[in-house]
Symmetry: D2
């Protein structure tokens, strides 16, 4: 057992920290300003492209793609501490390194399950950050955490698939650079529970695909990364070769996609929590009430201590999960992947809530990122299935040991 | 001890429930639509005026103004259950009855401390809902929960007061109908701790008063009720007769203003929680996952039960506080007023959080009011001083019994 | 709505407070000493009898017996605040007034359902505190919160009932003064779910009834009030006239017995919490660490404030429940009775936990009553069915409104 | 970074698990029976000696003594997972391996700071388990978490030290095998804050040392490991060579003693939590209510899942702390040592509380170890200073990064 990162990872951490300090954090104000000046209100500001060029120049590119060093990919365990660092600037850090969701998951899917043609057509431009992508699974009409509920249909007609359905909270889909959608639907509703679903690639400009509106999350439209779209698919036709994997493999692909994504989300959230804690400490040291800095109040100190105790435990669990994914595979790490999905959002929410409280009214306002981050953390308690689904499943696994 | 409302209050409850069912709830969609169609993005939609006319016709008008039956005012204990009912439609209910903050508090201040001229000039149009008003206390630069921190200056020069300062989170100030500001500042920084402050009336069109921007609360601008403005006062001059009460009485007036406002806020919040609970119950009965309605899940039922247990306790405490304000006065009810300020927001937040969880992604979106309500409830943990200030003070009171 | 007690109740409160101050609290040390000197380790110390004589002399006797002023019984709403006061000295207060469980519930059962003979034989000596009694429902082998699980059999044979079964946690049964057991069992396992059970009176000296041992609750044997016995019934025969009510009415009688008992338990628990809070305040004012009294620590003050906020809400809910039982009956107050069963123990536990923390090691020791009280409060989360059963049922009631 | 134990540790884990399965767990009933048959109610049952002989034979002996392989000591990181395993049988496991508190800490003190004579006289028999020992720091009259509060005096007179004071909660002191006390007192009240204290060795039979009584923890006297004594020292005289280290070094020695002890306590507590979780799972699978096993209830499953999520995080933090102690020393691991002291007891308490709830009345009784374990876990929130002291200190460390 060894709790230090290996030297190569430490080296990358230093390089990334330098990049963040020299380029990303200084660009945060520019980013905010450019967001206000966009013509297309869903497009990415130009500073993103500049940061991407610099990151690529430094070799900080596609690091997330575990198992694919040829593209820059590290192991999950090496990438995890880097994801945390990018999370300290959640709007800029991940995208600067071409490590932003949902492209990361989509690139993984294409790497693992794509045909050579699919890779050439979609994976390569994604790896180059020339285009962006979306993943269309969640539906408004049903509880999507239960995959058998999915109502979107994918029907084979000759050399084509015909797709009909309605999706929402499709992250990134409003971004004009988003050129491809991976759409989950049912190809065989009569099959076994987890063999009814398939996934197809649907180019954005396919007739019948309509992006209707952006959904908000606590009043935020998240337009900086393409929002969360409601999307209608009406008699959308794509060539049969746009199927990913085989018919009926949609559920399995979705499962395979989940594991690494959770590591990324969780580590970035921890980075966000660390930055919130730093902001809190700085604030309470300088803000005075009733004759003393807030930092002298026992209750405030206790918040800070509790945050530290919680983060330390949480980070270790996420790192161990990354380690397990590398050593025993995503299936072998199933319980831990569920555990971090459950443990992370609420821990980070709590820390952000206290950070807001320490900042007073500014904390909930647009002058600080805290409330927006909290909205993001809170939505993670719903994304990929509500916590309750994961808790139930994890409880069942534990009970199975004694049956 | 008697836990039923008196017959007159019950009668009013019935009348208000009828008004809500016949007019307010049906107008919610119109309200939302009109909000999207406004020319001035901070103005109230026309449906508000229609509802106000109908409410006034029905005698449901200015009910909050305790001690002033001549204007329609009820006792706090009679008004409280009505405030709860209006809270079931937080954007429309209170304003329809001319019982919306911050006008309510401002009308109370003018009723209690205003001169005849001030009443004629500002109270009467407020009682008629011809104008709206703002209350400018909180400042960005200091912890405003400690009144001695206030930096805005109010300096007597001849027959005028000259005001300089910066305020923010001034609710309602962006509404074009908001014609008058009550501004808190320091007239004598060398006086006793709680005699340094004064309040003056500043008409919106006074030179030097500048409304700079709307602050957001979790991404919401709350433009339906005039937002939360950042306001600069630069060499603003008002006639000396615009002083409310005497010099040095600002802190005392602010204290007097707080009690009833908290009853109103808390009861409205309880109404909001009740509606959220209703939405939750309806949702979980009809939504199905893994073969069963969500309502069959033990965890969901427990949320619902916990919500009921919490609401019942909370409502009784708020009602008792209203009763004490009526019988022993706001000072006599000081501890209870603090207690409801502490207990209400977090209880309501918890219920809203579970309501969101039960609704899945829709819960955080613009399709349901839950996330916006939660943002409002959460900001109450900061408004009028963070909970921690009240907890400390309440703890001190309890300890004082044994010193 | 009226939150003050009526004058008669206030008068009784004063009289009871005087009795507590003059007799009960001063007797606490004697009680503790006599407990250590008993010959029979399960008997009540002699000071109890002395206090009972004095209480009876003062007319503070059998106050719990709602609906029966001829025995001293008050309404639930009048008795509730008195129960709270007795709870400040939980080992002595209730028993001194002949208002201690389980006799109270048993006297209620006999009053409501007993024949004249049963009343003469058992109710009268109980009303006089000449004997004590036990209520035998819970069984070790099954989840007794589900009455259909009960395995004890009650079989009619000629003029007798023959009883076989094993019970445990039979409070008071080890007290040598306990002369009568009310035993719940199944007389007709084939009947409707809630008509299978009957209750019979079993005198302690009946052959076949064997008190095997005292169960402990967190290391406490609660011998001061007769402990919690495991009891075996082996071919126990009682005359048929010992049946309470009719065959198959056992479940209904048990339900009728629950309501008032919960009010009593809850109000006494609140009294216990108030005393713990008082002890905490006194302790933190006098105990010094790191140069300041503990009372100056923000965290400690917050505990005290939170305790006050919680108690105020809880007490109001219990009082309202008592009011409802008086006005709409135990069935009409079903939801509230469940709510107080859920809300009370955990609230009181939290307060006791913080009281212990404020007292350091002394808090968990025999030198203070806090740990023993906490053990009692914690066991209330299990007694009469675990909280989870009540939460589930309460959740279902709430959902029923919308079906 | 590597999350698997090294092969040597894995090997030891297997050996220890075999020892637990073959000897310790089967001896639990014997242990309980012998506890009831002791002549001296504070002595260890004979089965302990038998287990010790077997453990020693197997080389499972003194494993805790980090840095001293010559006595069997492992590194903290290797010992930690073994401590967890012993914690599954808290009354027997640690003592069987001669790894039970407070002897462990006392042996560490003697190893680090003892003279050759002291080692020969006291350390050797402790390493052989021929005697037991006590550590006398806590005092009833003052908040002992603040070492400057200590009132026991240690005064040099000629060749002797004269000791006067009162201690309590001196674990193990009632055990007749306890032959030596390490006593902390003040030798120089005028010195610097942390140089006022000294430690001396006081043999149990020294005139003036009087063991007055056993303190209870939630009704438990913990007589199986010698209880928690109140001890009076009245003009106790020991030779000057009984001083440990130098005068004024008492505080530093106490600090050095704390770190490893916390790892041990925390890992054993985790073992206890794991066993409680196992008992819970087995129970809910076999216990039926309302027609289904408890394991089918969503709320129960959620408890189990939450327990798993919490334990995984906690264990990693404790292991990392052990790793840090081995690599950067106890001082370097200061923050983490505080963190595990804070995080462990409450996590384990929560799991035990739910385990009790799942077991119904049996859970709080003597038939299961759960309530007794919970009492132990709860007392850890007070032992070595209440959590609040550690939270305050940890918060201060975090803030120091930004000053």
């Amino acid at each position: 057992m060894e709790f230090a990162h290996d030297p190569a990872t430490e080296e990358l951490r230093s390089e990334l920290l330098a990049f963040m300090d020299e380029h990303v954090h200084p660009a945060e104000d520019t980013f905010a300003r450019q967001l206000g000046e966009r013509e297309d209100p869903w497009s990415a500001p130009p500073v993103v492209t500049e940061l991407q060029a610099e990151a690529r120049r430094r070799g900080l590119w596609n690091l997330f793609l575990a198992g694919h060093p040829e593209h820059g990919g590290l192991s999950n365990l090496s990438y995890a501490p880097l994801a945390e660092i990018t999370g300290r600037s959640p709007g800029l850090g991940p995208v600067a390194l071409n490590c932003a969701a949902p492209d990361t998951g989509n690139m993984e899917v294409l790497t693992m399950f794509g045909t050579e043609d699919q890779k050439k057509r979609w994976l390569e431009p994604l790896l180059d950050a020339r285009i962006r992508s979306a993943f269309a699974m969640t539906e408004p009409a049903v509880a999507s955490s239960d995959a058998t509920n999915i109502t979107t249909s994918i029907v084979r007609e000759g050399d084509e698939y015909v797709i009909n359905g309605r999706k929402w909270f499709i992250t990134g889909a409003l971004n004009p650079a988003c050129e491809i959608f991976i759409v989950m639907g049912k190809s065989d509703p009569g099959a076994q529970r987890h063999e009814q679903q398939s996934m197809v690639l649907v180019p954005r400009d396919t007739p019948g695909l309509r992006v209707e509106r952006g959904m908000t999350v606590y009043g935020y439209d998240d337009s900086d990364h393409g929002g969360h779209a409601e999307v209608v698919l009406e008699d959308v036709r794509v060539p049969a070769e746009n199927l990913i994997g085989g018919e009926g493999e949609g559920f399995a692909i979705a499962q395979a996609r989940l594991g690494p994504g959770r590591i990324h989300h969780c580590m970035r959230s921890i980075g966000m929590a660390e930055r919130a804690l730093e902001l809190t400490c700085r604030r309470v040291l300088e803000r005075t009430a009733f004759g003393h800095p807030l930092a002298d109040q026992g209750v405030v100190r206790q918040w800070i201590a509790e945050a530290r105790v919680a983060i330390e435990q949480l980070r270790l669990l996420v790192l161990k999960t990354a380690y397990l994914m590398d050593t025993v595979g995503n299936k072998g790490a199933h319980t831990e992947i569920q555990a971090i999905k459950i443990a992370t959002p609420r821990t980070v929410e709590w820390i952000l809530d206290k950070a807001i409280q320490a900042h007073g009214a500014a904390g909930v306002s647009q002058d600080l990122p805290l409330a927006e981050w909290l909205a993001g953390a809170r939505s993670l308690r719903l994304a990929d299935g509500p916590d309750e689904v994961h808790l139930r499943s994890l409880g069942r696994s534990e009970l199975r040991k004694y049956r």
